[in-house]
Amino acid sequence: MTMHRRSVIAGAATLLQAPFAFTRARAADGKVVMASWGGGGARMWRDTFAAPFQQASGIETTVAEVPDPSAAIAAAQGRPQHNVIIAASYQAANLSRRGLIEDFTEADLPSLQHIPQQYWIRNAEGKLLGMPIYFIYYGIAFNETLAKATDFASWNALKDPKWRDQISITRPLFLAPYDLTLYAKLNGGDEANIQPGVPMLEGVAKNAISVYTSMASLQQQLSRGEVTAAPFYSGQIQMLRRGGQSDVNITLPREGGLVLSYILSIPKGAQDRAAALSFLNACIAPEKQVSAAQSGYLPLATNVALPDALERELGMSMADVRARNWSPNWYTIAADLEQRIRLVEQILDRAR
């Protein structure tokens, strides 16, 4: 079969033009498209927040699962496909420093009045980065067949040589904003002065046999007894126990833990900002917060009364949880996040 050169060139030119024929309009107005992590969290967002909001407001609301919502916004480079994202507070602060999310006044977020100011995330100009929505606390998760809660009455127990090769720690991406910050606080420093936390992090890292790469990874390791303990998220353990895995538990050492708060933000350049803002304000409704607490996400808002059964499951009242856990200034942490991550990587290298 003979292929004429002109036919080949014509065909190639047609193929190159084809993408432009399919250029479509971006997301239509009048919708909320939210980026969320997958798994149980996304399911909770659909059932607890998105569906009721759509029913009440008539605004079509979609929850799209992505590996990391803040990474999705960073990758979009000002052309976001989502107009709402859920992010850890330090991630939102990082996006704000890079100019990728909107900022707001208190007038834009009237529902904020129910949330104590210590949980508000502000940028350098004093503007708000979004709606703080809920939190989990950072404690020490452990396998109950290999250890007891009293073994971890203090965070310093993680450095005890008896736990050598029995601890797991998270990746530097989270170790830097969470563990290093907490250890700094425990040793006389704070979110700005992290050096006091370095020796403690090195001590804990020396006992670590693994660096877990996902929630699921550590859930498996703890459940199977491959590791004895790890700094971890309260909500994850609560759901694991609810799902029948009663061998794992979490304890809050006497020094307290860390408030890992999450925030709803609106990416810059997103469509339908009004609908997104309406969604942000609607998510603080008490009944939705109680429902989220059933999935392990504790309310930051003070106008929410948790059922007694839920507080019994937590092992303490919400007032105790808030009192015993520290909420750092995440914007300060995000200021030099890359340097902190590199520092943590060096600490891990030294510990090996």
């Binding site: 080949v8 798994g39 699962e65 989502h82 996902s214 929630m215 029948g244």
Partner: protein
């Protein structure tokens, strides 16, 4: 010639070890608890019901299947056209073209994903079916082209010449002699392209959107947060579907078509 006892033992061990991961995945999918465990501590259909009752999971599965079928067909058509065009091309041109076609094998998929993200974002095609399809076409091209090109080179040229001498027009020689003899290569191209596209996650992760995602990306997103056995249930369903597909292909066209490239190339069509 009989097998030695050592060879028999190795063969038996392989027959036991090779399907072991499948058995473990299928077993773990029936666990009633929220973590993967084998042997499972009980029996439950819970995770199958979760998968089959979830519009999100089913949509991702359907979108993956559609992308894979379209990518397989389109890349195979392009591969056949390319192989035919390059078969008689000068060696230098063929070598350069084949290098370009096989180039996606040389680059890390993360780099390809970032490149596609930038390009598709510029065209406002990111996050949809067309963008993901375009990426899959590029990724599947090497796996589609190779079996077709190899199959084409093994066809005896005298068969085409004989057809021409006996009065067949070039189009008839192509459709009635060459393409039937290319069947093994085309079948292999379709199969490999389908598998590559269906399993693709690294590049696709950069290109999904709120209204479009694929099953492998959904699985990856899910296991970041949950270690529950729904992923094992999904894998078991895919194993079952694959086994069914293999039996169907064997019934319709025979599995020899995938391995007998040389023999098919030497035989004239009926």
């Amino acid at each position: 010639m009989g097998l030695s006892p050592a060879t028999r033992i190795i063969a038996i061990l392989l027959l036991i070890l090779l399907p072991a991961p499948l058995i473990i995945v299928i077993g773990a999918s029936f666990s009633p608890r929220a973590v993967l465990a084998f042997p499972p501590p009980g029996f439950s259909w819970r995770w199958y019901l979760e998968f089959l009752g979830s519009p999100a999971w089913l949509a991702a599965f359907g979108q993956s299947a559609i992308i894979a079928v379209v990518a397989a067909v389109v890349t195979t058509v392009i591969a056949v056209l390319a192989a035919l065009a390059l078969d008689r091309a000068p060696a230098r041109l063929r070598s350069a073209a084949e290098t370009a076609i096989l180039a996606p094998l040389l680059f890390p998929h993360a780099a390809i994903g970032i490149a596609f993200l930038g390009w598709l974002s510029m065209l406002e095609l990111n996050g949809g079916f067309i963008g993901v399809l375009m990426a899959h076409l590029i990724l599947c091209a090497p796996f589609a082209y190779r079996p077709v090109a190899v199959s084409l080179r093994q066809i005896d040229r005298s068969l085409t010449e004989a057809a021409t001498i006996l009065g067949a027009e070039p189009r008839q020689a192509l459709t009635r002699v060459v393409l039937p003899l290319l069947r093994p290569g085309i079948a292999a191209s379709l199969l490999f392209s389908f598998i590559i596209s269906f399993d693709e996650v690294t590049v696709t992760m950069f290109l999904i959107g709120p209204e479009f995602t694929t099953l492998p990306v959904s699985i990856y997103t899910h296991i970041h947060d949950s270690a529950d056995p729904v992923v094992a249930a999904i894998s078991s369903v895919l194993i079952l579907l694959t086994a069914g597909l293999v039996l169907l292909i064997d019934r319709l066209v025979g599995l020899r078509i995938f391995i007998d490239i040389e023999e098919e190339g030497r035989q004239a069509p009926a």
